[in-house]
């Protein structure tokens, strides 16, 4: 099965223990009545202090599941972590007790979700929800928690924070609700913020505002951020590196500029080509043919092969390993170099 051309994976190529957060060879499956869905099949990525990693993929590619595994909020059953490590400051979260993991949640690693309306509790005022962790985990008094909640709402630029602190989630606009959610996540000064499709439910103009806010906050507070999205356009201005996921694997991993200039995986290439371009008029938009794979019956070999324009017999037979292309770039494609050359042309 092994191929002489294949080089070592990036996990072993980078120095041990140096990262703030590192996911190593994670495997997660969902065990349901209909069968076992292999949702995460050996995902590895890392995050350093202060940087932003974008995780890109279609729904069902496993990007959110990986994040929930990091947070330790996967529902099991059906989810089951088969193997892998999640290292935070060198310690493996997966071997820790539930109480130890709870301490990490919110305080070290915080998360914001896609639909703020359903992610916020509808029957409590937003100020109460922002201050909740301050009161229950930091032992702050009600008055102090309220003051801090107003500060946090100011920080995320909610106008007239003091007046709106007693309002309920449904009284805010979509963008303001997402800001409330961000304020809530920032309450305990986390070192890592995971943003799971933070702008998907919002209007285009509001999307840009929220992305700008996240970028500003990251710089101001020196947090590291994992930005999960299916939207390439959102990523460009904010992220340092991009990990592209497909069928529970990281198929391409690169810094933003190199990836945009020349993708090294046919899937990424397809994604980039399906973005409407202002400079080319009247051209038909390319789409990726076919459907995302059924996770209960992932295709043999390279999981992308049924949809891939570069497909050869080897793609059907052999699972491609991560190919290192220089500058820390990797691509899980048998023809990574050809794709890269094609893209660069």
């Amino acid at each position: 099965m092994t191929d002489a051309v294949i080089q070592p994976t990036p996990a072993s190529a980078t120095p041990e223990g140096g990262h703030l957060l590192e996911v190593r060879d994670l495997h997660v499956e969902f065990r349901t009545h209909e069968g076992v869905a292999k949702v995460i099949n050996g995902v590895s990525y890392h995050l350093d202090a202060g940087e932003t990693l974008a995780v890109l993929g279609e729904s069902g590619s496993g990007k959110s599941v990986t994040a929930q595994a990091i947070m330790g909020i996967l529902d099991s059953p059906p989810a089951h972590i088969r193997s892998g490590q999640i290292l935070y400051q060198g310690r493996d979260l997966l071997t820790q007790s539930e109480e130890q993991r709870r301490q990490v949640r919110g305080k070290e690693i915080a998360m914001i979700f896609q639909d703020a309306l359903s992610a916020l509790n509808p029957v409590f005022p937003v100020g109460w929800q922002i201050g909740e962790t301050l009161r229950t985990r930091e032992g702050m008094s009600r008055a102090d928690a309220r003051r801090r909640a107003i500060e946090l709402m100011d920080l995320v630029k909610i106008p007239a924070a003091e007046r709106r602190i007693g309002d309920y989630p449904h009284q805010f606009s979509g963008g303001m609700r997402q800001r409330v959610m961000i304020a809530m996540a920032l309450a305990l000064n986390p070192k890592v913020l995971i943003a799971d499709e933070p702008t998907t439910a919002l209007d285009v103009t509001v999307q840009a505002q929220i992305m700008d806010l996240l970028a500003d906050l990251r710089q101001e507070l020196g947090m590291a951020m994992i930005l999960i999205t299916h939207d390439l356009g959102v990523v460009a201005g904010v992220a340092d590196r991009i990990a592209v996921m497909y069928a529970g694997r990281i198929v391409e991993h690169a810094d933003v500029r190199s990836l945009y200039r020349a993708p090294a995986h046919p899937y990424t290439k397809g994604l980039l080509e399906s973005i409407p371009r202002l400079d080319v008029k009247g051209q038909e938009l390319a789409t990726i043919k076919g459907l995302p794979p059924n996770l209960m019956r992932i295709p043999s070999g390279c999981p992308f092969h049924p949809r891939c324009p570069y497909v050869q017999q080897v793609c059907v037979d052999v699972v491609p390993h991560s190919l290192v292309l220089g500058d820390g770039r990797t691509s899980e494609c048998h023809f990574a170099q050809e794709v890269l050359d094609d893209s660069a042309r």
């Binding site: 279609e58 299916h230 939207d231 459907l291």
Partner: protein, 317 residues
């Protein structure tokens, strides 16, 4: 800005249309869906012991109502005061009641009035609910607004109180007249839930492609409602009415218990429970036997309806 989830979604739709790209004739699509749903439900039901138990009970009780002679040779109206509260014997397995009638025989014959009232009320309720639900769901707009308000108002009326008021109006003691009065009162007060269920199923059916197709082919309102929409509303309506049948039997017994439902010479469990209750210190069997019959009957119908509904809508469990 790219959103390849929508790209994937449109691909998905294309795939669903099937290899030939032919959407199939409208009617077939609808019927296939119903059939597979019913098939799934049947597979669920077959493995549900509660379904079989309640079906068995319903069968026995129905048989009792149709041919009571199979279960007891004794005439329930053959009462002799000399046998008052006499204990069990070879001819009367549960003994005799305060009037000296065969307790078991009265309970067996009592199933007649109960089932008759229950079935007729459910039938009449079904008719009212189908008409109102169809009109309300199909025409929408002000028709729906008016009928929905009507449903709200009727739902807001306390059932037992209204039944008392309505039945006090019926002076006649004629057996058939009282049976129909009770049926009428129960149906008039009890159609709302079923009408709501029909209404929502009509609204769903109305949005289906095959209904739009029928309309474009020039079918009239009446034809569309009867041929295309009504069949879709029948299954949910029947499920609701099965459960309602149990409640109607309980309601009839309650009214007869109070003395404003069925009256002698009609034999009804409600009346017998009341008489048995008054004389419970002398002998308990005349209370226990009709009580058991009534409780089992009501339970059987409610369990049957519950099992069918769960099979058709597994979400609810």
């Amino acid at each position: 800005m790219s959103d390849f989830e929508t790209v994937a979604a449109s691909e998905n739709q294309a795939a669903r249309r099937g290899p030939s790209g032919e959407p199939g004739t409208p009617n077939q699509v609808g019927q296939q869906k119903v059939r597979s749903l019913a098939g799934d439900a049947w597979r669920d039901l077959r493995r549900n012991p509660i379904f079989w138990l309640s079906l068995l009970l319903v069968t026995i009780i129905s048989l009792m109502a149709i041919v009571p002679g199979l279960f007891t040779p004794n005439d329930p109206q053959d009462c002799l005061l000399s046998r008052q509260n006499a204990g069990p014997s070879g001819s009367a397995i549960f003994g005799y009641d305060f009037q000296g009638c065969d307790t078991f025989s009265r309970a067996v014959y009592g199933s007649r009035a109960s089932l008759l009232v229950g079935a007729l009320s459910a039938l009449l309720t079904g008719v009212i609910a189908l008409v109102i639900g169809l009109l309300s769901g199909y025409f929408g707009r002000w028709v729906d607004a008016v009928l929905s308000r009507l449903i709200d108002i009727v739902l807001g009326i306390p059932l037992l109180l209204a039944a008392i008021v309505l039945l006090k109006r019926v002076g006649s003691d004629n057996s058939n007249a009282r049976i129909f009065a009770v049926v009428f009162v129960l149906a008039i007060l009890g159609w709302t839930t079923a009408a709501r269920v029909v209404r929502s199923s009509v609204i769903t059916a109305k949005e289906q492609d095959y209904v739009a197709a029928a309309r474009m082919l020039g079918a009239g309102h009446g034809r569309i409602m009867l041929r295309h929409i009504l069949p879709n509303s029948l299954a949910p309506a029947i499920v609701v009415l099965t459960i309602a049948l149990g409640s109607f039997i309980a309601a009839e017994a309650t009214l007869s218990f109070l003395g404003i439902g069925l009256k002698a010479p009609t034999i009804s469990w409600g009346q017998d429970i009341d008489t048995g209750r008054i004389h419970m210190r002398e002998s308990a069997t005349p209370l226990l036997v009709p009580s058991t019959f009534l409780a089992l009957t009501v339970l059987a119908f409610i369990m049957l309806g519950d099992a069918i509904r769960d099979a058709f809508d597994p979400k609810l469990r």
